[in-house]
């Protein structure tokens, strides 16, 4: 008997989205309060949009090892997004594929269009350092599901941050050209950092300590902060393109299966 006779062929896996079982299936937890759901949506959207930007790097990385690393980071973040979006109780696929860009709650740092590899490194360093500080503090959150997601996420995002930090140092303290590109990426992304601090003031001290440590080793200076903190819900225009691409199959073929 073929174990998969009636499953992978007849289970109605979606042509888009996961088509999988709810990632929180079988977890005993009360429904999320509106506040908890909104918070999980924000953290989930950060992970979903950042994962999408990293997925856009597939086949474009400078080395095979980095291709694999970036895909792994994107997969980890997609996994976190699935759990967090599911925790809202609104259905992960509906949230990922059924909302307009304006309805996303991601921070602008995750939304910015990709640039060169230095841009990827700086963005991932800032994003992962911030997210690790947040998740570290959520490990004892009163909601057992969010606490469990955070405890798993800490292990993953620590790898993401260290990967980005390693490259930041290698490129910042590398050639004149790699240093110049790192400085340009810092200048481009630094104005989005105030969003992070306004959103999670409690993560700021750890963020600043770690980023200052990495930049010093990378022989890079932090740019003077000039950015205005934008609240969640205020987006960069390029988010619309990213969301349109992510949702193109779902929009063209609603409910399609394969």
């Amino acid at each position: 008997m073929d174990l998969y006779d009636d499953d992978l062929t007849g289970d109605g896996h979606w042509a888009f989205g996961t088509g999988f079982a709810d990632p929180l299936a079988g977890i005993d937890a009360p429904p999320a309060s509106p506040e908890l759901a909104a918070y999980c949506l924000a953290l989930g959207d950060d992970a979903l949009v950042m994962s999408h930007r990293l997925q856009e790097w597939c086949t474009r990385a400078p080395e095979l090892e980095d291709e694999v690393a970036i895909a792994n980071v994107a997969l980890d973040l997609l996994g976190q997004a699935r759990l967090l979006l599911a925790r809202t109780g609104r259905g992960e696929d509906d949230l990922a594929f059924g909302r307009d860009a304006a309805e996303f709650r991601s921070v602008r740092l995750a939304e910015a269009a990709n640039g060169d590899f230095a841009h990827l490194v700086v963005r991932l360093l800032l994003f992962a350092t911030w997210r690790l500080a947040i998740l570290g503090g959520l490990r004892d959150h009163p909601d057992p599901v969010l606490a469990a997601i955070a405890a798993k996420g800490v292990k993953e995002v620590a790898y993401h941050r260290d990967y980005a930090a390693g490259w930041a140092i290698r490129l910042g303290d590398g050639t004149a050209e790699s240093h110049r590109r790192m400085r340009a990426a810092l200048e481009a992304l630094w104005p989005l950092v105030p969003d992070l601090h306004a959103d999670h003031p409690g993560a700021r001290a750890e963020f600043e300590t770690v980023v200052a440590d990495v930049l010093a080793r990378a022989t890079l200076d932090a740019p003077a902060t000039t950015g205005r903190a934008a609240p969640r819900g205020e987006h960069l225009p390029e988010l619309a393109d990213a969301v349109a691409e992510m949702q193109s199959v779902a929009r063209a073929l609603p409910g399609a299966t394969w």
Binding site: P23, L75, G79, Y159, D162
Partner: protein, 163 residues
């Protein structure tokens, strides 16, 4: 009749078919109540795409052994750690050319310190046994593996990273 637990313990990992879910510590518990079987599994990484295949495999294997309609449930806490990989699992990993993990770092309450250098763990080459190996990339073929190379025999190999 074989117990439901014994059946569930024969189900292998979709990515590492040399190992069972029990070897990996992914199979957390099996309960049987009046013919109804409940199985608890935990993901290695949150993005692990193999969870649904594991669920299908468990349901089908149990059904074939006379336990139809098993309920497979996910448990997230405590988070999976490589310390749960059994001794048998470690032997099977090494036999498959994959270096088993060393002891996992203990989770600390405060900020996670930066780890910038190559991983400190002394990892033995699963091909020739040499301890003279180096890390090529912390990310490998699956979420749970890093890529290393043996300086003695020159072979690259996967290493299950300690988490």
């Amino acid at each position: 009749m074989v117990t439901a637990r014994a059946v569930a313990e024969t189900v292998t990992d979709p990515e590492l078919p040399q190992l069972t879910l029990a070897d990996l510590g992914v199979l957390r518990d099996v309960a049987e109540d009046a013919g109804r079987v409940t199985v608890w599994i935990t993901p290695t990484y949150t993005g692990c795409p193999a969870m649904d295949a594991m669920r299908d495999d468990l349901v089908h294997r149990l059904a074939a052994a006379g336990y139809p309609g098993a309920d497979v449930r996910v448990v997230l806490s405590p988070p999976w750690t490589t310390d749960w990989i059994t001794e048998a699992g470690r032997r099977k990993l090494a036999a498959a050319g994959i270096a088993p993990p060393g002891p996992a770092p203990r989770p600390a309450a405060g900020p996670v310190p930066l780890a910038l250098g190559p991983t400190r763990a002394a990892v033995r080459c699963p091909q020739c046994g040499s301890g003279d190996t180096e890390e090529l990339s912390r990310f490998g073929a699956t979420a749970c593996r890093a890529l290393r190379r043996c300086r003695a025999c020159g072979e690259p190999f996967d290493h299950v990273k300690e988490i």
